[in-house]
Amino acid sequence: MRTTVGAIIITAAGMQGVAGPAAAQHATANDIADGERAYGESCVVCHGPDGDLIASIDLGRGLFRRPLTDEEITGIIINGIPDTPMPPTPGMTAEQAERIVAYIRSLADDSSDPAAGGDAERGRSLFFGKGECTECHAVAGTGARHGPDLSIIGRERRAVELEVSLLDPAAIVQPTGRTYRVVLPDGETVTGRLLNHDTFTVQLIDTDDRLRSFVKTEVAGHGFAETPMPSYRDTLSAGEIADLVSYLVSLQGQVDE
């Protein structure tokens, strides 16, 4: 999860020149990457990979219990908050802390919302039409099942992440979306979304939407494979990407009583 979020931000920053406010305005992609690593070492255990595990705090969306300047956050990272579970981090330099701040700010940056200007209804038409997304994905029971289900993707992913998935699918691969390939003794190749695996066996849902299970020692070959998700960089316009992202963001879960 941490790696994935880092990759998203780096990719997004690289593509769009994303830079956060305040100190982050001066941060480079490398600074943010350093901050991401430091966050993973010092912060993630309590705050979680998305920064939202502490009540009333959502670092990924720039929400604190009160508004904080970059300097204040830097101070809190180094000195902690007395009489709270937030500990000091002895030995952390101001520069390191500033890079964590840059990373946090980059997470919360919405100055380049990929859904901005998009039309969710047009995006829906693209999803079920030109984009051929239902060849692999389902929304509320409509579509194929061997790609990750997208019924609540708007709850699970930010717009920037969804855009990256559309433009550069290999840059973001969630644990639940990995592709696995098995070569049977007769040479037939079975590819599908990995559901489970262990030392001896592997379980996947193949491209014909079948649940399949294999014993690794009894097949001719097996291993992770590139995602079959195509890039839409050259097949959809920037406006269409924004439409599609808008639609995906709108998928907050439609199955209920």
């Binding site: 019924s151 049977l184 849902i205 294999f214 014993v215 009894e218 009583e257």
Partner: protein
């Protein structure tokens, strides 16, 4: 990993590649594909009989463990799995659906249902199993919803609320699928929840009909409840139904009236508590009923799993129903008309001394302020564990126990170690007194001849049992009990042929399936699902 498992897996692939949806036709003819297990008790007649005959009386001693799946749940594991073309589906209590590779026991996916905070069950946050139609699994939930989940992806398709969990409604039973409908009932009778059986469109979750197990004012049967006691009278539905395609009827057992151990506030027979109700599956209309225990004050839920079979009765073949009841009596009933054909005690029974011509029991013992000793126990002679019937031996296999308990009307009997203490006006019971007396309390698996209802053989256990039975074409009966032994008996003689020390209570019905033509036997015990096959 040995070669055999590889062969199994490859064969599973072959089956999977021919994957077909589970149509109603397949459900109707489930006995014809014994490699699968498509209904709670395999077939609509609930015979829990497998035509697989690879495991026999001659080789059952060689059965060995194939795999174990550990549930991440400390609740009792009461579910019988389904197996569909190499995929095994079961329930991790209370309400997670798990899809497993039937050959290796490895998990494909888990669907988690988050119950509402007010969800509660009187007697354990359990679930007894799933139903399937097409590529959709159906499960009732502890918070009284029915949900539909995609059998391939594990994604929720729809969710429908049957009743309000805050009013003590719950669902623990497995659904019944008929044609394009899913039919299920509600528990919660001990809390007074008025029983519901409702049918839903399998594709959409839209409710099609609803039958209330206690008639409302103006409906026949309402007069069997004094005052407005019918409003919170229980008669819950919490175990699997039988379905008879010939008549279009389905049969559910109903639970005790409430309050259970003190009937002074609900004078009358209290229909349709402790009954079997035969409903038209198209409309939900009541076609007939038979009440096993009128005005029950002992807790004799009639929520056993009915078995349908044709039985020769007084020289005539009758479309019959076999029912070993919690009240200690075993019954032969005409399933077309509901006529009581025959009934008799199958354990020590002291609360009645015979039937009238309509099959109404003549009750001779009642709760008293001093406490009345009842046989069988308030937990009954048998409870919910599914029985089996073998068309080969013609015998009916029931796991049950001998036991007794004291019941007293409220406030007069010293409060004992009974359960349900949070419930009001329910009388008091002493359930513990005879638990350590081997002559009073012990479990058995017995075989009964259907027309006479005579006992043919008995296998006796030291402890009582809540395990179901499975009959197979290998002339075996599988069962178990609280002691943590899973056993195989000779279906003709009851001789013990094989035991497996599974190390946890067997509280579920065993089942059988095949992958690569290799017969497996599966049963839940403790918090795990065990599968066995020949080496």
């Amino acid at each position: 990993m040995n070669e055999r498992i590889a062969v199994l897996v490859l064969a599973t692939l072959a089956v999977a590649q021919a994957r077909a949806e589970v149509t109603f036709e397949r459900l109707l003819n489930a006995a014809d594909e014994p490699e699968n297990w498509l209904n709670y008790s395999a077939t609509y007649d609930n015979q829990r009989y497998s035509r697989l005959d690879q495991i026999t009386r001659g080789n059952v001693g060689e059965l060995e463990l194939k795999w174990i799946w550990q549930a991440r749940s400390l609740e009792k594991f009461e579910a019988t799995p389904l197996v569909v073309d190499g995929i095994l589906y079961t329930v991790q209590a209370p309400n997670d659906i798990v899809a497993l590779d039937a050959a290796t026991g490895r998990v494909f996916w888990t669907y988690h249902h988050e119950n509402l905070p007010e969800a509660r069950a009187c007697c354990g946050s359990v679930n007894r199993g799933l139903a399937i139609l097409g590529e959709t699994l159906f499960m009732g939930t502890l918070d009284a919803h029915l949900i539909a989940v995609d059998a391939i992806s594990g994604q929720l398709k729809w969710k429908t609320k049957l009743a309000d969990a805050a009013e003590f409604y719950s669902i623990t039973m497995s659904p019944l699928v008929v044609e394009d409908r899913v039919i299920i009932g509600t528990g919660g009778g001990d809390g007074g929840a008025r029983g519901i059986i409702a049918a839903f469109d399998a594709a959409t979750g839209e409710e099609l009909w609803r039958f209330l197990t206690i008639p409302g004012p103006g409906e026949p049967g309402n007069e069997t409840w004094s005052g407005d006691s019918w409003r919170r009278g229980g008669a819950a539905v919490w175990n699997h139904a039988a379905y008879d395609p010939e008549t279009g009827l389905a049969f559910w057992g109903t639970g005790n009236p409430a309050p259970v151990w003190d009937g002074r506030s609900r004078l009358g027979d209290n229909l349709y508590s402790d009954s079997v109700v035969a409903l038209d599956v198209d409309t939900g209309e009541l076609v007939w009923h038979y009440q096993f225990t009128p005005h029950d004050e002992i807790d004799y839920d009639s929520t056993q799993v009915p078995i349908l079979t044709d039985v020769e009765w007084q020289g005539e073949e009758r479309k019959a129903m076999l029912w070993a009841n919690r009240n200690g009596l075993i019954y032969l009933i005409d399933r077309v008309t509901g006529e009581f054909l025959h009934g008799k005690p199958f354990v020590a029974v002291n609360w009645m001394d015979g039937f009238d011509e309509n099959g109404r029991p003549n009750q001779i013992l009642f709760p008293t302020p001093e406490g009345t000793l009842f046989k069988p126990h308030v937990h009954g002679a048998t409870n919910w564990a599914p029985p089996a019937y073998s068309p080969r031996t013609g015998l009916y296999y029931v796991s049950h126990w001998e036991d007794s308990a004291i019941v007293a009307v409220e406030g007069e009997f010293p409060r004992s170690a009974g359960v349900n203490t949070r419930q009001t006006a329910m009388g008091q019971i002493d359930q513990q007194r005879f638990f350590n007396n081997e002559e009073e309390a012990h479990g058995v698996i017995r075989a009964y001849e259907p027309s006479t209802l005579d006992q043919v053989w008995e296998y006796r256990m030291a402890d009582i049992t809540w395990a179901g039975t499975l009959a197979t074409a290998g002339d075996l009966v599988f069962g178990g009990g609280r002691e943590g032994h899973f056993i195989a008996l000779d279906a003709e003689s009851g001789e013990l042929l094989w035991t497996a020390p599974v190390g946890g209570q067997v509280n579920a019905g065993p089942m059988s399936f095949a992958v690569d033509g290799t017969q497996h036997i599966a049963v839940a015990a403790g918090n795990a699902l065990f599968t066995f096959a020949l080496p």
